[in-house]
């Protein structure tokens, strides 16, 4: 068992809107609402606590609007939380609260420690650059300054993600959906991130393509022991990849546990509904 947590989220909170005195009572899983009916404020994440351990895959499930993508964006440092902490344990054991980083520090941390794969490739890739350029960007940000070596590393990453290195200079628009997800994965892995964030990566793909992408992620996890945070509304995807799973509803975590336990012995009424509604 690997020692300590790598990332620890403490009482993280994010809302969109002005807020009012009764907001909290009128939203949350018991009310079945995220949006306050009085002032219209959306409470995307409320009192979210979780720990991510080195080398594990943690699943986050919940229906659309449950706050799981907002949570992921905050951990990716792309969205600033209203309150709470995101602690990260550096390789030297030092703890850093990522919510206190300024823009510049946050971007640097993002470039060196985090990788992300989005459901929609346009969000993760620059469609005007070549596929190789998109992967190389991460290397360039990590101060790789030798064109030849960048090309070699980019080809390696394409091989690893089962893309043909011959297509390094092709435009992303000539790639299929499953291939674009693999380009995103190659790009995310380029700078050896410690945490890979996956936001509905297989949603919208054909079932067989979905299986290939999942198998790729699984093998990367086995060989590189990379820590992953997997957001999905598809319980099957989470079952295949994540050992532990968190269930979110209306901005709150309603249940957390071993993935098979969540799926076969769900405790919370909402989780029981979610599991029983799965195909």
């Amino acid at each position: 068992m690997s020692e300590q947590w790598l990332l620890r989220v403490e009482q993280l909170e994010k809302h969109f809107g002005p807020g009012c005195p009764v907001c909290r009572q009128l939203t949350g899983p018991t009310t079945g609402r995220s949006r306050c009916p009085r002032c219209g404020t959306v409470w995307a994440c409320v009192d979210v606590n979780l720990q991510l351990h080195a080398g594990e895959v943690l699943g986050i499930v919940g229906e659309s609007g449950s706050g799981k993508s907002t949570l992921l964006q905050m951990i990716y440092l792309a969205l600033r939380p209203d309150s709470g902490h995101i602690w990260y344990r550096e390789s030297d054991g030092q703890l850093r609260d990522l919510t206190t980083l300024n823009r510049y520090e946050a971007r640097l941390f993002q470039n060196t420690h985090l990788g992300i794969v989005y459901q929609r490739p346009e969000l993760g890739l620059n469609m005007r650059f070549s596929v190789g350029g998109n992967v190389a960007e991460k290397l360039l940000l990590a101060e790789w300054r030798h064109f030849g070596r960048i090309r070699v590393r980019t080809s390696e990453l394409m091989n690893k993600t089962e893309l043909l290195p011959e297509r390094i200079d092709d435009e992303p628009t000539t790639f299929s959906g499953g291939m674009l997800q693999r380009v995103q994965i190659a790009r995310a892995l380029a700078s050896h991130p410690t945490i890979l964030l996956l936001d509905e990566v297989t949603s919208g793909l054909d079932v067989s393509v979905q299986a290939r992408v999942l198998d790729l992620l699984r093998r990367i996890q086995w060989t590189d022991r990379i820590t992953m945070l997997l957001v999905s509304h598809d319980l099957g995807v989470v079952r295949q990849l994540a050992r532990r799973t968190i269930v979110m509803k209306n901005g709150h975590i309603v249940e957390a546990g071993l993935t098979d336990q969540i799926l076969e012995d769900p405790q919370h009424p909402y989780t029981q509904l979610l599991v029983s509604s799965a195909l």
């Binding site: 068992m1 198998d215 546990g257």
Partner: protein, 229 residues
């Protein structure tokens, strides 16, 4: 006697929130122990909660009350019903194996890779893992031309063998087998029984749930009839 696993006064009830919060209790005050190298066979009428016991030990189900003491290599004597999830994950990887009745795998992944999965998880490199994987496929009598095909295209019997292989390949100290010989023909059943006995000789404790009293039951060290209510 030094037991590998001791189940004491185990209860498991389910609260069905979707059906008026009704509670059902399939496992009621169950106690038993298993020593290293021992094979305990649990049998009884279907739907009585035999599988629930296995799932409680594996922590797929959260036990409602009672204790499940396990003598772990890494963590010493611990109560599986209350142990930290991280410890459970680690035990599942290295010490406790579970074989369900159904093979649940990713489509398009070859039989060889499927059976090697537990080894990949342990961090074994691909070639070494596949060496072991091929050996197991051979023992299980899976024809070599099927090794690169997906088990999802296999017959029920072949799928079950792959499923068993996945449980055995990691050499756990405790193996939980749910109906291991169902849907197998006589020859294959014998292969599986031999595998179980070989594992026992290596000191693996086995708890199986089965109706197969004439086949598997003959070889079990102890049989325990699950009480029907």
């Amino acid at each position: 006697m030094n037991y590998l696993l001791e189940v004491k006064n185990l209860y498991k009830s389910f609260t069905l929130h979707l059906i008026d919060g009704r509670t059902i209790t399939p496992v009621c005050d169950v106690s038993f122990s298993v020593a290293a190298g021992e094979h305990l066979l649990i049998h009884g009428r279907s739907g009585m909660g035999k599988t629930s016991i296995l799932k409680c030990i594996y922590r797929t189900y959260v036990p409602t009350s009672g204790t499940i003491w396990f003598q772990s290599h890494q963590f010493g004597r611990i109560d599986l019903s209350r142990a930290d999830e991280r410890i459970i994950i680690d035990l599942r990887e290295r010490e406790i194996g579970f074989c369900s009745q159904f093979l649940r795998v990713l489509p398009r992944v070859s039989a060889l890779d499927t059976i090697c999965e537990p080894l990949y998880r342990q961090g074994l490199d691909r070639t070494a893992a596949q060496e072991i994987g091929r050996e197991w496929l051979r023992r299980l009598g899976i024809a070599a031309e099927l090794w690169q095909a997906s088990p999802m295209t296999f017959s029920g019997g072949e799928q079950q063998r792959i499923n068993l292989g996945r449980a055995f390949i990691a050499r756990p100290r405790l193996l939980l087998l749910d109906e291991p010989t169902a849907s197998l023909d006589e020859t294959t059943k014998q292969v599986v029984i031999n595998m179980i006995r070989a594992a026992q000789r290596e000191g693996t404790a086995i708890i199986s749930v089965s109706h197969d009293l004439t086949g598997l039951g003959v070889y079990a060290d102890r049989q325990w009839t699950f009480p029907s209510r």
